[in-house]
Symmetry: D2
Subunit: 135 residues, 4 copies
């Protein structure tokens, strides 16, 4: 199955810089969270309503390519890499909207049952929305 | 009535610095929140149990005296300035633990009823704990 | 003299929320900093070039009117309230872009000489840019 | 060669929690940065003086085991995993100071020449300080 690619801009803040004058490396994980939540809110939750699943990050990584200094925004390209029964992997390419790649990150998310807080299968409807033929 | 003074250390982080190499001015409000929550948790809530009230900040201000650069911690002196029926004011002096004063801040907190989210009188027991004769 | 009013949108992040599910009160100061830096960068610095002054916050306050929950952005209306020889006051109204006002904040900024780090008069060109007849 | 293990406590803040009431997953990277900077400042830089190298994070990852809710502090165990010519890997185990492991993280750091911002060999003295026979 082919999965979709999403392109989400994230606005930067002066506060994202640290004492070196670059965006702090931990902040990249907030950028990808911001992009992911925007994706979920704007594209997925409104189509799923109350059935929107609860996801938690169980693994996250980032490979830094280039420093980011103060700029209006970054464009984050989110690709669904893999979907398993109760988890899925997202790949994030943090770019300037053109050729420059600042970093490449990845998260593994697990779908939790809101009541039991235990892993639960990803809803079919959610998988469809992430897939090329979805929506 | 005389109110107590509390002295709460707060550990600093490299991430508290901004691109100027000083602690970012917004971070001072996180420092005083950290100190206030430590105070509530360590000194007040354990003596009040389930009756611990819910407080929200309705006004906050800070006058900055001196830049803070990276250092292990600051010592925050919290003084109860005024207690009214449903609100109270705290004064925070952010110091190096000795003579230097980095900033002076103030918050007005309102006591909310957890169920209705409306202002509610501050519990007597809480006022006693903030008062010199308390505890 | 009449001063200008600026309207600056600031994108929100899931991370701006705290454990109460509302935007954390310290984060409002980061919002107004973000808006102020956008204003400086986009509207003022490019017209002043190397002559752009260095400003530091010496006082900041915020009166909270309404909780902010997760939403795409806020619109911050920045009004120049007062300009003195080496300092000026900005008033920020944090809104939903329409009728709702979440908070009203104020900062006093002092103009510093980059070399000596001592207060220095605000450049005339900067005052013009903040004034109705400016630019 | 055997490398040292360092045990660094990091104080938590209410602000580290997100809207789920758990420490936000990006904050773990700030915790390990805080621990690493404390280690550098307290144990290494004072012994190296002006020769302290400049390190940047080129890769970071974290595997989350257990949610962290509000607590006074975590204890971070830092192990030097590998030292190469211009880079080294640190492994961080984020614990409650006893048996519980909240997360395991890893960073790859590259040593930069402060003037050229290009990779440069790690100073011998720094490697000694990280090694069992060091100090």
């Amino acid at each position: 199955m082919e999965y979709k690619t999403f392109r989400i801009p994230v606005e930067l803040r002066f506060r994202d810089l640290d004492a070196y004058g670059h965006v702090n490396h931990a902040e990249f994980f907030t950028f990808i969270e911001t992009a992911r939540v925007k994706l979920m809110e704007q594209e997925l939750e409104q189509r799923m309503g109350a059935g929107a699943p609860l996801f938690v990050v169980v693994e996250a990584s980032c490979r830094y390519k280039e420093f980011i200094t103060l700029r209006p925004e970054v464009l984050i390209v989110i690709q669904v890499e893999r979907i398993k029964r109760a988890s899925f992997d997202l790949l994030y390419t943090i770019t300037d909207g053109a050729e420059r790649v600042f970093a490449v990150a990845r998260t593994t998310m697990v779908c939790l049952d809101a009541a039991t807080q235990r892993p639960t299968p990803i809803p079919e409807r959610f998988i469809e929305l992430l897939s090329e033929k979805g929506a």
